[in-house]
């Protein structure tokens, strides 16, 4: 059996460094389970959104989703996020090849793409609020829209902070059995964010545009 300091060494990494230790395997499994829970979380939000998407009641400003949404921006955002999913796949590819430098580069690109996505989302919200008076409190539709999309945005933001922290913390010491699971799990999280976005652009924007 290895002594515990071994996990900090970058030598002799196995093929799947993220699952080589018991801790790593636990993290890996635990995180997948967490994602199972997140599925229900987002389902509840989607359900709420779908139930309220045409609900304005006696609200003052009632721009329906058809008029509200602009597809160009959403398309760009989608491309950014989809691409960031691929770049994080690249990062994991290099992790499995024990190429720490390349992994960091691809993670960096992932972060940049994610940040761009987030920036556009903030711009989008700003636009809705200022041009359509479509706010969080203006109607049930508004509340549901910002909550669903905002929850996703918050996930993106958290993911960015997480990956950045990991990158900074480990910049100097390279890949090892202790941090490999952390990187791997963060990338799983990132993919999951993308999964959710696929449904958001489909259900909220595209279907909302149709009516």
């Amino acid at each position: 059996m290895s002594t515990h300091e071994d996990v900090l060494s970058s030598e002799n990494l196995p093929h799947e460094p993220e699952k080589a230790t018991l801790e790593g395997k636990n993290k890996f499994l635990g995180f997948w389970f967490f994602l199972g829970g997140e599925t229900v979380l987002f389902a509840s939000l989607f359900g709420t959104y779908l139930a309220l998407k045409n609900s304005f009641g006696a609200a003052e400003h009632t721009t329906p989703s058809q008029e509200l949404f602009g597809l160009e921006l959403v398309f760009i955002m989608t491309m950014l996020l989809l691409t960031s999913s691929l770049t994080s796949v690249y990062a994991m590819y290099h992790m499995k090849n024990h190429d720490f430098k390349k992994m960091m580069v691809w993670l960096g690109i992932t972060v940049l793409l994610g940040a761009a996505f987030l920036g556009l989302e903030i711009y989008e919200f700003y636009h809705y609020v200022h041009h359509y008076h479509h706010t969080f409190t203006s109607s049930a539709f508004g509340s549901a829209f910002y909550t669903l999309v905002g929850f996703h945005g918050a996930h993106v933001a958290f993911g960015l902070l997480w990956i950045i922290t990991l990158m900074i913390r480990n910049a100097r010491r390279g890949l090892n059995l202790y941090n490999a699971p952390k990187f791997y799990v963060a990338s799983l999280y990132w993919h999951f964010i993308d999964v959710v976005w696929v449904f958001i652009f489909t259900v909220v924007y595209l279907m909302g545009k149709v009516g």
Partner: protein
């Protein structure tokens, strides 16, 4: 690091040890103490409810206070008493039953506890800060949205925080069971308590997110002007009901399944027989969980979902009776032909059968949608769920605690006092709740601050109150029993009940690393296998070697504390202005800062060296 610390330590050191512990056995004790405290609190609230309802048209307690009482009674009992007490048992026993040295995420495990505790404390702070939540434990909108004051904010934020804790605890249990089983401990050799922990944890994983979302929406409506449940602005109050019950129904199985697990162990041990129909018991457990997800709308039959939805949910609900029945009969057959010892723990298990069956069959009556139009929101429902909850969950907890007490504390509870507790509690319980079935059918709705004179409800309510007092006396005897045995009790033998499962193979007291050498499991009821086919001792599955242990940490405490502080800020944002924003800032800074420290600081744990272990072995 190991034996040297055993000597007398200062009080401060002990407290610090508990504040920072990541040892599942100590976390179990924390859960037990906190959950026990909340149980007394919830019980006290129940007693006040019963006092108010002792006589018709009673003015003992004001309407508002009464509403706060039953809201807090329900919330406290379910979230802060029953679940944590079950978590106490799971933490204390499950890792030992599967032959693990630890849980998968010791840090997360501790974090789960502190989040629960701070959430619970936050909820109860409401009593001193202008009034507790008053919209029922189900907090139906729009009543919960328009409820004045901050009561419901405490509800939403308190449950949110403690809910995160529960979710983490659940994930920890699942992974522990998957990855940390001792060699030979296959899934189909796991004791049923472990199985039910596993399944209940999966239910937690999928049920709690719905509550999380529901609570977020409620918080947004109340504190940030959202319109989810405001009909005038297009909101729809029924969404809350769905989200709450999508969580709420699985929740009741989260409560009962572990209790089922406890009983399976107790029946088997005290009948000296292996569990009858083990595999169908496992199958039934999984089936109950699965079906449990498809029946939530049986709480909403009168909402107006229409006959099609009502019929579907009615039939789905009834279906749950089948796997539950399988369990009941398997337990009966476990005892059949056995050699039954009526210890206190066994008394709880034995009395559970008729009690729970009664509660279950009234459940099936409720499931009959058309008939539920009469039962719903009447005392018939109150009777139903106390029969299953008290007769199932509380009996399970009490029985389980009595059974595993020697393992957790190294001493036996006094059997004689235990039997007094049991008989008083049992009698009081039936006195309190049996009559409530009839009160309900005679037209008494639940959540009634007072019932009026001349409707024929007087006698029933009086009887019910008297019964509640018997339960209170029983609880006092239990407390006395705990105190007296802790102070004066003798050390118990390592395996006082002639146990069958792995946890009883451990010495008393259980070392903090649990198993010096991981045991080799050779069948169902591994210790029994060794007792009948071996020398009564577990065969080690590995040579003696260094043991890896996690480090203690104070961060779970601070992460939770930060959220606690921030929650106050969010609540008082509008009335308090600047100081509230400070609280939000400071609170979140503490939480996020602690999380940052956690991720930046390597936490590799430490090793207990082989040599130390050998030395310890010599002293045994």
């Amino acid at each position: 690091m190991s034996t040297a610390t055993v000597g007398k330590r200062s009080f401060g050191a002990v407290v610090w040890d508990y504040l920072t512990t990541v040892d599942h056995k100590k976390i179990a004790i924390l859960y037990l103490v906190a959950g026990g405290f909340f149980f007394l609190l919830g019980g006290l609230e129940a007693m006040l409810i019963r006092l108010q309802l002792m006589a018709p048209d009673s003015e003992l307690i004001g309407a508002q206070f009464y509403n706060e009482l039953f809201t807090m009674h329900g919330t406290t009992m379910i979230f802060l008493a029953a679940m944590p007490l079950l978590f106490a048992l799971m933490n204390a026993i499950m890792p030992l039953q599967i032959g693990a040295r630890d849980v998968a995420f010791p840090f997360i495990n501790a974090l789960g506890f502190w989040l629960f505790l701070f959430g619970g404390l936050l909820l109860n702070c409401s009593w001193f800060l202008g009034g507790a939540p008053d919209a029922g434990w189900t907090a139906y909108a729009p009543l919960s949205v328009i409820s004045p004051g901050h009561g419901v904010d405490f509800y939403a934020l308190g449950l949110q925080i403690s809910g995160f804790g529960t979710l983490m605890g659940g994930i920890n249990f699942i992974v522990t069971i998957i990855t940390m089983r001792a060699p030979g401990m296959t899934y189909m050799r796991m004791p049923l308590f472990t199985w039910s922990t596993f399944v209940a944890s999966i239910l937690i994983l999928f049920a709690f997110p719905a509550l999380t979302v529901g609570l977020f929406l409620l918080t947004f409506d109340r504190l940030f002007g959202a319109n989810f449940f405001v009909p005038d602005m297009g909101g729809n109050e029924i969404i809350w009901e769905h989200l709450f019950w999508i969580f709420g129904h699985p929740e009741v199985y989260i409560l009962i399944l572990p209790a089922f697990g406890v009983f399976s162990e107790v029946f088997s041990t005290f009948s000296k027989k292996r569990l009858f129909g083990y595999s169908s018991m496992v199958f039934a457990t999984v089936l109950i969980a699965f079906l449990g997800f498809m029946v939530w709308a049986h709480h909403m039959f009168t909402v107006g979902m229409g006959p099609i939805a009502n019929s579907i949910f009615a039939i789905a609900t009834m279906a749950i009776a089948v796997p539950t029945g399988i369990k009941i009969f398997n337990w009966l057959l476990t005892m059949w032909g056995g050699s039954i010892r009526m210890t206190t723990a066994m008394l709880y298990a034995v009395s559970f059968i008729p009690t729970f069956t009664l509660g279950g069959i009234t459940g099936v009556m409720l499931a009959s949608a058309a008939a539920d139009y009469q039962y719903h929101d009447s005392y018939f429902v109150v009777a139903h769920f106390h029969y299953v909850i008290v007769g199932g969950v509380v009996f399970g907890i009490l029985g389980g605690l009595t059974y595993w007490w020697p393992l957790m504390f190294g001493k036996m509870l006094n059997e004689k006092l235990g039997k007094w507790t049991f008989w008083l509690f049992f009698t009081g319980f039936h006195l309190t709740f049996f009559i409530q079935h009839f009160l309900g059918l005679m037209g008494m709705p639940r959540r009634y601050w007072k019932f009026l004179e001349g409707q024929g409800l007087e006698t029933g309510n009086l009887i019910s109150t008297v019964g509640a007092f018997l339960m209170a006396i029983a609880t006092f005897i239990l407390l006395y029993n705990v105190i007296i045995t802790t102070v004066k009790g003798k050390k118990s033998p390592a395996d006082p009940w002639d146990g069958r499962t792995l946890e009883w193979s451990l010495p008393n007291p259980t070392p903090f690393y649990n198993f010096k050498q991981l045991p080799l499991v050779r069948g169902l009821d591994p210790l029994w296998v060794e007792k009948t086919q071996g020398n009564g001792k577990m065969i080690p599955a590995e040579p003696l070697d260094d043991i890896h242990m996690p480090n203690n940490s104070f961060l779970p405490f601070t992460i939770s504390l930060g959220l606690f502080i921030a929650a106050f800020g969010f609540m008082y944002r509008v009335d308090a202005g600047f100081p509230a924003y400070v609280a939000i800032g400071v609170g979140l800074a503490i939480t996020l800062g602690s999380m940052l420290i956690r991720s930046v600081k390597d936490d590799l744990g430490y090793h207990i060296h082989k040599e130390d272990l050998e030395k310890e072995g010599a002293g045994e």
